[in-house]
Symmetry: C2
Subunit: 216 residues, 2 copies
DNA sequence: TCGTGTGAATCGGTTCACAGCA
DNA sequence: TGCTGTGAACCGATTCACACGA
């Protein structure tokens, strides 16, 4: 589930420090969750802990990696090589976790041909070919809002079944295609909401109903 | 709550198209949620719809904006002006939603002094002064993982109470400080998990327990 | 009549608390 | 003894379904 990557990161840190064994209490603290939740999450994978002792770090890393599908190699394409696309292309955390940046695509002639992180940016006209030839099943969309749906349609037609969307639009996709959305503006708006509550609620309005609202 | 920004975005699109009124059904479709959920969410803000008709777009935009605190001006600092920081600094969606990029900070001498989106990058040594002088209450951290906690401590000490963290670490902050985390690598890992399930589950293991797992 | 607003039912996820095993 | 694994209680959020009002 969605917290396994967080546990995995914490475990990697522990492993680097040479820690061989963790209790659910310790790992939960490192991951920022409570220990009962962590144990329940891990129990879904199987019974990989030892009662009275804890979990063996290396073994748990392997089990979680396998569960998440990180023991295989995923070819990823990034479409849209603006600042955000570049940030993603250059982010080291991907390669070390089973992800391989296999293609960068952009529509801008000034950007096509540029070499970023060892990859040459290709023209978006070649999108279909590039995706099929590289066996890409995951696409990252870092394109302008107006381009997002058309590009989405094209990558889906080419065989992509998982999309990470940074454009501020709700994409529509066929069944069987997963979309995750990261919207930087929405994150800020949620912070502003909390910030405002700290400052005393919306100006000039009763605050009662505010109690009913919000979690994370 | 966390979906209001999504509704707001959809409403802005409708307003631009000149739509005066929407039903919960239509707005829910545009926002990608179901209509009962949308109505329940909106009812927390008050009774702003008309039975038999729907919601007046402009009025609802205003009410949601006020609820989210977007009718006031929030000064935001971005710390870490790599590709990601630049992408954030240049993202137009902020300014139009009550957010004002008030400061850019970096540790790299080659970057300090650079002008991005009309702002001069300042040195991180001046962080405390810059935050206090500009009345900044929201900070965006786009720094390397190792720098995140120290920078976080400094912005909190300077008076920041909301943090949007892009570094892949769990930040620890005092009570009263909100942290939201965006982790690009985790998003991809979650996609990989789903992708793997489509392909038939983790190699060599029974799939039964997989049924118990995962939502979005 | 039509669509909002909302009790009531439902669902899923979190937390509690302890039985069971190393 | 100490900590995992898990049934049971709990809690919030989602969905259903319809009364109510424009």
């Amino acid at each position: 589930m969605a917290r396994l990557p967080v546990y995995l990161r914490a475990l990697h840190v522990l492993a680097e420090r040479g820690v061989a064994t963790v209790s659910s209490e310790e790992l939960a603290a490192a991951a920022g969750v409570n220990s009962a939740k962590l144990r329940k999450d891990l129990s879904h994978l199987g019974s990989y802990g030892t009662r009275g002792v804890g979990y063996e770090v290396e073994y748990l890393v392997y089990q979680i990696s396998r569960e998440l599908g990180l023991t295989q190699d995923w070819a990823v394409a990034i479409v849209g090589i603006g600042n955000l696309g570049r940030a993603l292309a250059g982010y080291g955390g991907f390669a070390s976790r089973g992800f391989r940046m296999a293609a960068l695509l952009d529509a801008e002639p000034g950007i096509v041909g540029e070499v970023i992180a060892g990859l040459t940016v290709e023209h978006i006209d070649d999108l279909e070919t590039v995706i099929k030839d590289n066996g890409i099943s995951i696409a990252v969309l870092a394109v302008p809002a107006a381009a997002a749906q058309p590009v989405c349609d094209r990558v889906v037609t080419s065989g992509v079944t998982s999309i990470l969307n940074f454009a501020p639009v709700v994409l529509s996709v066929p069944d069987g295609v997963d979309v995750r959305k990261v919207d930087l503006s929405i994150e800020l708006q949620i912070l502003a909401f909390h910030e405002q509550r700290k400052a005393g609620g919306p100006s000039g309005v009763e605050e009662e109903y505010l109690e009913a609202v919000e979690g994370q």
